[in-house]
């Protein structure tokens, strides 16, 4: 399976996701159950593409930005479905669908075609856990961003309990990703932490999410400030993930693997 198959699998998944998102708004007693089934089917269809792609590639599809976007869309829809099942926000599925389709569209419009080569620097047992754990946390934290936006726009919504649970899970996974990276860095580069641009922006992001928990603790009433801290943290996360490519100070980052394989 190759990038060319992405469009058909993604279209089928998109139909399921959009159907699921619409069903979530209907008042029929069985509507929410069918919404979950439809949305879940979309996730399975999309996951089967990634599985087939991985098998045909002979190496984990986690090397390039395009490949990490594949996982992001998968985990994002998964996080959206779990949030819907747990808290029944009927609008969350539409938001995660739109966001994931944006990233899929980028992959279809700007496919990054790569061969099977996995360079020696990435041949490590830390590689798969480091990247997938991060992508999972990015998706959970994207959900908190969407919830925070919703909370800012419509203050009557009670989104804080969902934000709190997702943020706890998201930050735990983010921390795990960072620590797996530190252990790997010791093996590959000689030190646990060397303030490489990617590491620095991961630290900024991590500190901002920790700040959210502390703000919530000392100023539980300041909802607006809490939402803004989450939005800032999410922006920093975007710089950490792909924004670094456009940042002059990050040119020399040791995390630039895609440049060498192109």
């Amino acid at each position: 399976m190759t990038w060319e198959h992405l469009i058909s699998f993604a279209s089928a998944a998109a139909v399921c996701w959009i159907t699921g998102s619409v069903l979530a708004f209907l008042h029929h007693p069985k509507a929410s159950a069918w919404s979950m089934i439809s949305y879940g089917t979309g996730i399975l269809v999309y996951a089967s593409f990634i599985t087939g792609f991985w098998i045909s590639l002979d190496r984990p599809p986690l090397v390039t930005m395009g490949e990490t976007r594949l996982w992001y869309s998968l985990f994002l829809t998964l996080a959206g479905l779990v949030t819907y099942i747990r808290w029944r926000y009927k609008w969350i599925l539409s938001l995660t669908t739109v966001m994931s389709l944006v990233f899929i569209a980028v992959n279809i419009l700007r496919p990054e075609i790569h061969n099977r080569v996995l360079m020696p620097a990435l041949q490590s047992i830390w590689f798969i856990p480091h990247v997938t754990v991060y992508m999972f946390s990015y998706a959970l934290l994207a959900c908190t961003f969407l919830l925070a936006l919703a909370g800012l726009v419509k203050p009557s919504l009670n989104v804080l309990p969902a934000i709190d649970t997702l943020c706890r899970a998201g930050l735990s996974f983010f921390t795990a990703g960072m620590l797996l990276g530190a252990l790997w860095a010791k093996q590959a580069w000689g030190d646990y932490w060397s303030w490489d641009p990617k590491e620095t922006w991961a630290a900024v992001t991590w500190l901002l999410y920790v700040l959210y928990f502390h703000l919530k603790e000392i100023r539980p009433g300041a909802k607006k400030m809490i939402f803004i801290s989450l939005i800032l943290a999410f922006l920093s996360l975007q710089i950490c993930w792909y924004g670094l490519q456009y940042l002059p100070s990050a040119r020399g980052s040791m995390h630039n693997y895609a440049l060498n394989t192109d």
Partner: protein
Amino acid sequence: MTANMHLFAFPVNLIVGLCIVFAGWSLRKRFSDTYMTVALVMMTAVALVQGFMPQEAGFTHSWPFVVVLTWFLTVLASRLFRKFSLAGLGLWLALWAGMLGSADSTVNHVLVPRDRYAPTSLSFEMRMEDFQVSRYDTGEPMEYRATISLRDLSEGMSVKAPDHDRPGGDVVKTLRVNHPVRYRGYQIYLRDYDVSRGNDTAYCIVMVTRQPWRWLVLAGILLLFGGALKIFIV
């Protein structure tokens, strides 16, 4: 602006580290949780400065950064004495040992020639026995493998005695990317070779590091891992 790390070589770093713990203990009642939040904002600010600066500027070795980090560690210590958390302790230990330990750490890049020992500033010498690059069908490198012999100089006599007089005196190790080698408290990493000559390279370049405090950093990382797991489960 750059902090002179040699000033903090052992035991000065340990004394400074104990002072941080002591300050955290004495201020545990004075500092409220607001101090922790402000310290987090300050830490975020210096990390942002580093994020927008080129890495070569070495901001993380400058006094402003070191002062903010020290302040952060003091406030975090005071908070931990007041209200313990596993993740907080892990973060504190990793940062504390990372910052103080860097004064005792050394990094050397050493050129290791083929078939002969070259003098180094370290307490041992290295010689490259063999170098292999294996490639994918497409020609891209799949693996770099350097075989090197190591000879300890600290035993005195080994400097003068020819190799054949000291059977078993040399240790042979294989170096690969992502697979460093440990030797007498040092970690040795494969860094470079003569790309134009491939397998026939006349040398390889290795990085030799010594980080006596690394076990404490590792302990901090594992504690923070446990803390993250706890936050997820509870």
